[in-house]
């Protein structure tokens, strides 16, 4: 470009500056126009405003797992047995691909309640309860095994099942989200 716009060979001229400034302004304008077109695809206000879910735990028997829907996803609430809690606690951290002690995944004094987002951390299938090599959860899609704390033990999933934000509104009432 410099060649054709200068009189004396390769010295830049004021016209070169104008070309570059115009081009740069055009690029900024194009990016500004593209942003609304791209950002419209992100989760919108109505999706973000999804309310939290309240669940009554009184009918959930020991050894039972229930599934509730939160933000379009399944959430597992497991009423763990003594044995399951013991197993989760006894597992040495060095056996875990994503090391996390059991008590970091439940609320203190409520160790029997395990609340998990029921979405496999591999590619998003819903694992099955009380199955797999560790009798926790098993994802049939590509064979990920989770233990009774929902921690990944074997298979392609890289992370433990996520614990959603939740709190106990009362002894038998839990609010997720």
């Amino acid at each position: 470009m410099a060649k054709s716009t200068t009189m004396n060979g390769d010295q830049p001229t004021r016209r070169d500056f104008l070309y570059i400034a115009t081009g740069a302004m055009g690029a900024v304008g194009a990016a500004a126009a593209a942003w609304p077109l791209i950002h419209q695809m992100n989760p919108d206000a109505s999706v973000q405003a999804l309310a939290s879910a309240e669940v009554d735990l009184s009918p959930v028997q020991e050894g039972q797992i229930i599934t509730v829907k939160w933000r379009g996803k399944p959430v597992f609430i497991a009423h763990r047995t003594k044995k399951e809690i013991e197993e989760a606690k006894a597992t040495p951290l060095r056996d875990l691909p994503d090391p996390q002690p059991d008590d970091a995944r439940v609320k203190k004094g409520k160790e029997q309640w395990l609340v998990l987002v029921g979405v496999c951390t591999h590619l998003g299938c819903v694992p099955l309860g009380h199955q797999g090599d560790y009798k926790g959860f098993f994802c049939p899609c590509h064979g990920s095994h989770y233990d009774t704390s929902g921690r990944i033990r074997k298979g392609p999933a890289p992370l433990n099942l996520e614990v959603p934000p939740y709190e106990f509104a009362s002894d038998t009432m839990v609010r997720i989200g």
Binding site: N42, P43, V47, R71, G72, P74, G143, P156
Partner: protein, 418 residues
């Protein structure tokens, strides 16, 4: 190759339009006078068959869209409504659904034809890369189309495939939410997939135009893999190629019709006749058959990011083929070693496809790993080494000689060519 046409219509009116928009001349020089190598075999008819498939998908798709509802409550029912109530709706849907499979059968044959005869080599690199882009767009289109009926396989296929992007370090989860427009596959996802499923085939049509433009610039390859040297090596597109293409297309339509009318659900999954349930994954989720080899590669690698990288790499490697295989001889006909490795590679791909449909456990996983390794070894080790060490057998001096041997030649009929 296609050069300026000396086409001159008889009617005064068409002469008038031709002087202003020479479209008939363009058609004539591209599809009538266009010189094609005289030794083309039936593997060269799949380009025409692919154009036919694209046309069928666009036409049946547009009419299906007149009856289809892209909402999570309405989609499944609207597809059943198409099947039961809409006049000939069953036919339109079965043609569209099986048409996607036929499209992939044709494209795989077309791609392997290119492998065998070295069609990706100089000077056809851009032509080849445009083909790889078409293949990628087809995969995206078919994937999004399969989500539309909103059955169990639609939903869980969409979930697993979009989650592939969550493997991107750092921004992965944000990228997936961007694709979904929410926190899971839901209404916004379905609706944008419908919009894009409508758009992409027209983008494919655009790239097909570039593909054919590049083809007509460099000329067709042929089974001997040697350049056209004289008029004796070619015949006019019409009637020679036109007749052969049409015959092959009719055979293909018979095959297609056999699926549509006798086994319309053979290539589908029964689970997709169960409405989508976001709280329960079917026990065996399997993609459509045309994705199985890539799915097997994904599952062969025991790490999430590694599997995703291997899967995308297995497709991306195709674009680099012209630079991995540097042998000067194009056709496998004159490359004794390459020919054997070609067939081993075909078996490897079929094996991966078979494994993709099996559960990911035990011996199947080991076999998938071996074949995945072999798939990449073929491209990155075998082809580069063959380029240097293989001694090709003698190549005929011309296409005409490859067809007729060394007999004295009667000039081939090249009516209409330059």
């Amino acid at each position: 190759m296609s050069g300026p046409s000396n086409f001159k219509p008889k009617s005064a009116f068409l002469q008038w339009t031709e002087r202003r928009l020479p479209i008939l001349g363009l058609m004539h020089s591209s599809f009538v006078a266009y010189p094609t190598p005289r030794n083309l075999n039936y593997w060269w008819t799949f380009g025409g068959i692919l154009s036919f498939c694209l046309g069928v998908q666009i036409i049946t798709g547009i009419v299906l869209a007149m009856h289809y509802t892209p909402t999570v409550v309405g989609a499944f029912d609207s597809v059943e409504h198409i099947m039961r109530d809409v006049n000939f709706g069953w036919l339109l849907r079965y043609v569209h659904a099986n048409g996607a499979s036929m499209f992939f059968i044709a494209v795989y044959i077309h791609i392997f034809r290119g492998f065998y005869y070295g069609s990706y080599k100089e000077p056809r690199e851009i032509l080849w890369i445009l083909g790889v882009i078409i293949f990628l767009l087809m995969m995206a289109t078919a994937f999004m189309g399969y989500v539309l009926p909103w059955g169990q396989m639609s939903f869980w296929g969409a979930t697993v495939i979009t989650n592939l992007f969550s493997a991107i370090p750092g921004i992965g989860p944000k990228v997936v939410e961007f694709l979904w427009g929410g926190y899971s596959v839901d209404q916004p996802t379905l609706q944008r997939f419908f919009s894009l499923h409508y758009l992409l085939p027209f983008m494919i049509a655009g790239v097909v135009v570039l593909h054919i433009w590049a083809l007509h610039e460099v000329g067709q390859n042929n089974p001997a893999g040697i350049d056209v040297k004289s008029d004796k090596d070619v015949v006019a597109f019409t009637p020679y190629a036109t007749a052969k293409d049409n015959f092959a297309m009719v055979c293909f339509m018979i095959f297609f019709a056999w699926f549509v009318f006798y086994i319309p659900n053979y290539l589908g999954h029964a689970d997709n006749y169960i409405p989508a349930n976001p709280l329960q994954t079917p026990t065996h989720i399997v993609p459509e058959w045309y994705f199985l080899p890539f799915y097997a590669i994904l599952r062969a690698i025991p790490s999430k990011l590694g599997g995703v990288i291997a899967m995308f790499a297995s497709i991306a490697v195709l674009a680099f083929l012209p630079w991995l295989d540097r042998a000067k001889t194009r056709s496998a006909k004159y490359r004794p070693l390459f020919k054997q490795f070609f067939w081993i590679f075909v078996i490897c791909c079929i094996g991966l496809g078979w494994l993709g449909a099996k559960p990911a456990e035990g011996g199947y996983v080991i076999a998938s790993r071996i074949l995945t390794a072999y798939y990449f070894i073929h491209f990155f080790v075998i082809l580069p080494l063959l380029s240097y060490y293989e001694k090709p057998s003698p190549v005929p001096a011309s296409i005409a000689e490859s067809v007729l041997g060394n007999q004295p030649l009667a000039p081939a009929k090249v009516k209409g060519s330059r």
